[in-house]
């Protein structure tokens, strides 16, 4: 486990892969795996009060994330949300594969949600379902988020032709009223809360953060949520997750399988987003560049940047950033909806 901790620290510093989480996780892995480690009970306590008992840390982090997100590109063109929905396909496909491979339903669902490309949602679902593989799921979720620029381009290129990748999409910036920006987080919270009550904490905290940002009278709180609050929680979240990275819990064959399934989920999320765009192109006059569908995974803003970069590689005047950002933030919402629906269905079946 010291070696794994060292690898995580190396990836964080040298490769700059999600350093704010992988570094504390790596150091924590070393810390708690020292013989008779006196830190273990402290980190275990942090895990219990901050994650295990009430999922407090991922939820509070969501306030910060909500405050960081500008939903304007999505509100300008709400149809972009379709791609966010389609890009959750990998989650449900992976659920089937993990179940087929023999994982219990609660574990299969927790593994599948790695495809949400959303650390807090992955933690929330895994803890709610009392998965046996929480640590591996968290490590996989954050590692793959960092690997989006490596994982997505080959899949996108495999699913699209050069001609499709060169489709230009002029961006027409329509005005969005302040009232819409204020009502949006409230409306989304109510709708998702009614449909998937289990996800209402996640979506509610995310949208609360966004409401603070958009209301226009709480700039100081918004700034604190985006920076200080998010940073504080991130520091503790990484090292707290490490409490589950003991050799007994982490060093097993299932961990490798989970890493593989997480990658599978990311691949099929990307595939789902691209394919729905291609499908829509069969029926629409103004063609959509199918690559923007790939930004529907909620790894924000890496996925949107990847799509924009690929567009520019094919045609140096093909700017897709505003469209892909809109799809990317819709993926943030859709991944939470997916998490909530998955929780509801699975808990109904297992009687949780």
């Amino acid at each position: 486990m010291w070696l794994i901790g060292g690898v995580l620290i190396f990836l964080a510093i040298k490769k700059q892969m999600e350093p704010s989480l992988l570094l504390p996780m790596g150091f924590g892995a070393i810390l708690i795996n020292l013989p008779n480690s006196g830190a273990k009970h402290v980190i275990d306590h942090l895990f219990n009060i901050g994650i295990n008992d009430n999922e407090l840390m991922p939820l509070i982090l969501f306030i910060g994330i909500g405050a960081m997100i500008d939903f304007a590109p999505l509100l300008t063109n709400p149809k972009l949300m379709i791609f966010g929905a389609a890009a959750q396909f990998g989650i449900f496909f992976t659920l089937c594969l993990a179940s087929f491979l023999g994982f219990e339903l609660k574990d299969a669902a927790s593994i599948a949600i790695i495809g949400a490309a959303d650390g807090p949602t992955s933690i929330f679902v895994a803890i709610q379902l009392a998965s046996n593989y929480t640590a591996a799921i968290m490590v996989a979720a954050y590692s793959y988020m960092a690997l989006v620029p490596i994982v997505q381009p080959p899949i996108i290129k495999l699913c699209t032709t050069k001609k499709e990748r060169m489709i230009r999409m002029p961006y027409v910036g329509k005005p969005v009223s302040k009232l819409t920006k204020i009502l949006f987080p409230i409306v989304v919270t109510v709708i998702v809360g009614l449909v998937a009550p289990d996800a209402v904490a996640l979506i509610g905290f995310l949208m609360f953060g966004n409401l603070i940002r958009e209301c226009g009278v709480l700039d100081s709180l918004s700034e604190t949520a985006q920076k200080v609050l998010a940073n504080l929680i991130t520091i503790f979240l990484g090292i707290t997750i490490a409490s589950k990275m003991t050799a007994a819990e982490f060093l097993r064959i299932e961990t490798l399988l989970i890493m593989g399934l997480g990658l599978f989920a990311f691949v099929f999320d990307t595939f789902g987003g691209v394919m729905i765009a291609k499908l829509m192109n069969l029926f629409t006059k103004n063609k959509i560049n199918p690559m923007i569908g790939a930004a529907g995974i909620s790894a924000f803003p890496m996925s949107a940047r990847v799509v924009n970069k690929l567009g520019l590689e094919e045609d140096n005047q093909n700017f897709l950033l505003m469209h892909s950002i809109g799809v990317n933030v819709s993926g943030q919402i859709a991944s939470v909806i997916a998490g909530g629906l998955l929780l509801s269905f699975v808990q109904n079946i297992i009687g949780g």
Binding site: G84, F100, T180, L183
Partner: protein, 51 residues
């Protein structure tokens, strides 16, 4: 845990996939409708705050 290929587990998960994807698209559709409506209703409300 003993991992092994399980068709029974797969059959249990398949309906969840169907309902999950359907659910996401329905919820998304409702949000799209409401946002479109909001955009229409509030388009002239506060020009000073427009981007």
């Amino acid at each position: 845990m003993d991992l092994s290929i399980s068709v029974d587990n797969l059959l249990q998960a398949l309906p969840i996939m169907g309902m999950g994807m359907l659910g996401i698209f329905i919820v998304t559709g409702v949000i799209i409708l409401i946002v479109t409506l909001l955009n229409k209703l509030t388009s002239g409300s506060d020009k000073s705050d427009k981007e």
